[in-house]
Amino acid sequence: MIKALNITKKFGSLEVLKGVDLEVKAGEVVVIIGPSGSGKSTLLRCLNQLEQMDEGTLCIEGEKIKNGQKKKDMAQIYQLRQGIGMVFQRFNLFPHKTALENVIEGPLTVHRKPQKEVAQKGIELLGKVGVADKANAYPSQLSGGQQQRVAIARSLAMEPKIMLFDEPTSALDPELVGEVLEAIKGLAREGMTMVVVTHEMGFAKEVADRVIFMDDGKILEESKPEQIFCSPQHPRTREFLKKVL
């Protein structure tokens, strides 16, 4: 479903990704862990081209992404993003719209679907993540956990085939982390293809089909969760896990 080869990204002279290969199969849940600044988020953002890579090829659902700012290429990237949902660390809900308006914004603007149809679907999606009663509330009236769940519903409204989560619980108060993780687990159970960057090791153990450890712009180790957590092979992985577990 996702095939990334030799992804390289520089910010100025700083090389954030040093040739990363990543493959994700349909229905697979891949969790990326690693210290801050290891390039996890950047890799995720390259997958939906919020960040343009400097080198490498990206193939998503057989669609090969070229790297360029040309009009023609942008159209392909816009198309690509419609099929990939992204949930951000800081939620990034639209503050001038209610929860429901946030959720229907994508289908309304991008798919140009009629208001009535999307509103009904929007309520359903809000129900799915447990915030249907907050449909008419503005983001500023919601807790962080509720905002993040609305953000998940907003991504789902586009009926994506892949979901990307960029540290979805890092900005939350500890007591609100659980409700967001539950919503993400629910998606995993439904067979959604997901790539999750997180510091929640318990969550990684529970839902990941595969865990990837990144450090210094490279993938150092990847394997089944039980293996990486119980008997990590790479010394850097061992060092990192000792600190966080």
Binding site: N48, L50, Q69, M74, Y78, Q79, R81, Q82, G83, I84, G85, M86, F88, R90, N92, L93, F94, P95, H96, E105, G106, T109, V110, Y138, S140, Q141, A151, R154, S155, M158
Partner: protein
Amino acid sequence: MLKGVAITLELAVIAITVGSFIGLTIALMKISRNKIFNLIGGFYTWFFRGIPLIVQLFFLYYGLPSVGIVLTPFSAAVIGLSLCGGAYIAEIIRAAIQSIEKGQMEAALSLGMTHSQAMRRIIIPQTYKRLLPPMGNEFITLLKDVALVSVITMVDLLRSAQLLNQTYFKPFELYGAVTILYLMLTSAFVLLVGYLEKKFALPE
């Protein structure tokens, strides 16, 4: 003199409307990824902010006829005020757009929106609230700047008082009246902006 009030108001409203359109266009050019647009936008604000409005008015009304372009005092006034106002409004709009958090654009793009859809639906609507206070200021400045058009024979509020004064020679009363009328106009603007600020306020 009331006719003068009407002219002043009319000029102010037209200049604000046209100036806002110019301002929005120039602001979008300045933040565009197109280098040529950046240059045009930058040149525009540099040019029109760098010349006193009174000089622009003189040039438009007294200077241009020498090269065959003759403007009525009214059109010269509208053009001068709008172009100048547009330059300041452009800066206000640009600053407001750039003050919107980067994550908003990213969230919109991640849904598959094009850059211009994201601007139209997500970014620009969020600037309204932030635009109002500085725009209110700019509108009041423009309203007061209308007094400058009296130098190109436009019979605005100030000029009408001047003309009356030539006949009746009552400067204290006449200019006192102008003062009070201007205060009334600017107060009305302040109230209107305050009302709009409340209207656009989101629940916190």
